[in-house]
Amino acid sequence: MSARDEIFANIRRSLGVNGSEKIRQQMVADRLERSPKGVIPQRGQVSGAERLALFKTMVETSLATVTEVSAPAEVPQSIALFLRNHNLPATLRMGDDPRLNAMPWSETTLEIAQGPSEGRDLNAVSHAFGGIAESGTLAMVSGHENPSTLNFLPDNHIIVVSAKDIASDYEAVWNRIRFAYGKGTMPRTVNWITGPSRSGDIEQTLLLGAHGPRRLHVVVVRD
């Protein structure tokens, strides 16, 4: 018997089932189809300005920084200012997200590189799929538009998120993913990011910048 068959046989023997019980199959199919929500914390169940305010508070709680601009065209200047304020070089790597591409980068002196990171970049910018107010989390989706390596290799990661894409809870993001990719289908990588990289492994002391970005900066675009 193959390892697979033996493991299934052992599970079924232990559970006292044979795997073809209609009622069990129905329960499983039903749950996978309906994906019922569980307990959703009230905290995130707010809308409009209140939700945006909660998101920003939670982003800061996660030790990231956040700023707000009133139009996509203001993003490049805002990022240039952030880099200057932290005495960081005016370089920036990004994918080919159409929303980022449409921004007036030439109005800044930023030196832009495109494509995934090979581990030598100081600064990168990505556009988020969405934000989650409940925990101040950014939801990132992989693809050439926003390569996953940009989320982890640069020292300073800047994430742009549209205010309209900031949801109350994780469940709302899953609904959008299902709408975009189809039920039961996922992009290769979804990253939830809540703050900059950190470690407490040495004497339980919190230190930022373990293997991922030392700084995480979020730019919320109102439109």
């Binding site: 599970i11 996978l32 390596t149 979804v190």
Partner: protein, 477 residues
């Protein structure tokens, strides 16, 4: 065969740990940090207790339908271009992993933190076959340099102090300036980051564990704060996920429930920094990510736990809250437990996986104070399960003869209440009389184990039952 265990020597391990001043200093960090942070995180979320119920119910439902969810999961992984391998035991898992690494022509393998990889002892197996495994979680990296097992499931190097880490870095990182300053923890972190960055970029295969697997989508999930797991899985050409069977949950909604209790219970964070959902290899529309995606599903004793009272242990999501709140763990640390999983969860799981004949001391190393159960995010009745192991140990005559005869002696009286009352009254009276001058005993017959370390207080002369009776009478009058 699993990794070597020193669980049978628990008593000697514990005695050594209690006399280890470095360890005792380091363990102070557990007591201080984790408990307060979890408390604050739980207090900030009014729905926390309801989420614990929800988490428990999701795990129970999945375990009851594990065969069907596994089939659904396997189908989804295949549909997304990934491979699923099944391993009955540790040896089979090691062979599968080695074969994949060889097919990838691997010289170096980076690893995200994974307890199942410790359980199957994959590092030694790879090394023995000329492949270099590099642990990338800072704590795991440190203990790999020291050739140790993790002493905690989420803080593997919690038993060490910064000066010990500094010594290890100086011993191993010989390419760096010997006069460099490493007196601050942040300098140690920066050095590890630079050294490991090169390893990440050079690795041929990345091996991670999985906090959860999602049947709905064929997704594996890792949760980290450092980002090491992500660099492990997106940079090399091949990504291998190691997961035991019970990591499965039905849907993305279900995993979102569990994630809401995981970080809060573990580190007191709202959410860990990086929660990553990986599904299959890179797509044609991806600019990065692994070209090959393998999942090795490992049984190694789990299927036999289903349908028994120990099925409840399979709900465990490895947050570490039970050991963070355990007075025994605080006193002896994780290594004394002698195998991969320490603390209360280890005391229940280890006998299931390596046998109660080898690990029988572990469920005995408990005061039954119940703190572990009170903080467990999936409400595993850990004290009850430890008691089950004690009963089995007793039934199988694995308990030492002195303990057995002692229990039989006590049992004789306990079953005869009138005799019990008489005997305890006589004994308490005699002890009170004998100890009335000093108020305590530094030596007592048959109680050397106690009096060797501390005095035995002299009883007041009245038994507990007699006092209970007297005070009840007073209260009702």
């Amino acid at each position: 065969m699993n990794v070597h265990s020193t669980s049978p020597e628990f008593k000697q391990n514990a005695a050594r740990a209690l006399n280890d001043s470095q360890l005792q200093k380091a363990l102070g960090n557990v007591k201080q940090g984790f408990i307060d942070k979890r408390r604050m995180a739980a207090d900030k979320l009014p729905e926390f207790e309801a989420l614990r119920d929800s988490a428990r119910d999701i795990k129970n439902h999945t375990l009851e339908h594990l065969d069907l969810y596994l089939e659904a999961y396997e189908e989804k992984v295949k549909a997304s271009g990934g491979h699923v391998h099944f391993a009955r035991d540790a040896a089979e898992a090691r062979d599968i992993i080695l074969t994949i690494c060889r097919e990838a022509g691997a010289k170096t393998v980076t690893k995200g933190k994974s307890m199942i990889s410790e359980e199957i002892g994959i590092n030694h197996h790879l090394e023995a076959h000329g492949i270099r495994p590099v642990e990338t979680d800072l704590g795991e990296y440190i203990i790999q340099l020291r050739n140790e097992l993790p002493s905690h499931i989420i803080a593997p190097a919690v038993h060490l102090n910064a000066t010990q880490v500094e010594e290890d870095f100086r011993r191993v990182h010989t390419h760096l300036d010997a006069k460099r300053d490493l007196s601050e923890p942040v300098q140690l972190l920066t050095e590890a980051r630079a050294v490991l960055r090169e390893r990440f970029l050079a690795a041929d295969v990345g091996i991670t564990g999985a906090n959860f697997l999602v049947a709905e989508t064929g997704t594996s999930i890792i949760v980290t704060n450092e980002g090491n797991g992500d660099l492990t899985q997106i940079l090399p050409k091949t990504h291998i996920v190691l997961a035991s069977l019970e990591k499965l949950v039905p849907t993305l909604e279900d995993v979102s429930q569990l994630l809401r209790v995981l970080a809060r219970s573990a580190t007191g964070q709202e959410l860990s920094v990086y929660t990553t959902f990986s599904t299959g290899p890179r797509r044609s529309t991806d600019a990065d990510g692994p070209e090959n995606y393998h999942v090795v599903l490992i049984d190694n004793g789990r299927s036999a736990m289903l349908g028994t009272s120990f099925e409840e242990m399979l709900r465990c999501i490895r947050c570490g809250a039970c050991m963070n709140h355990c007075p025994v763990y605080h006193a002896v640390g994780g290594h004394a437990y002698g195998w991969v999983y320490p603390g209360p969860m280890g005391a229940v799981l280890t006998p299931s996986l390596i046998g109660v004949d080898k690990a029988g001391h572990l469920p005995n190393a408990s005061t039954f104070c119940g703190r572990c159960e009170s903080v467990c995010p999936v409400r595993i009745p850990l004290p009850k399960l430890m008691r089950h192991w004690r009963e089995r140990e007793f039934e199988r005559h694995l308990t030492p003869a002195t303990v057995r005869s002692g229990l039989q002696f006590w049992g004789f009286f306990a079953k005869r209440p009138a005799l019990y009352r008489l005997a305890t009254r006589a004994a308490m009276g005699a002890l009170a009389l004998a100890g009335r001058q000093r108020g305590r005993f530094s030596w007592l017959p048959m109680a050397k184990g106690w009096t060797k370390y501390r005095d035995f207080p002299a009883p007041q002369g009245e038994t507990f039952q007699a006092r209970w009776k007297r005070e009840r009478k007073g209260a009702s009058a």
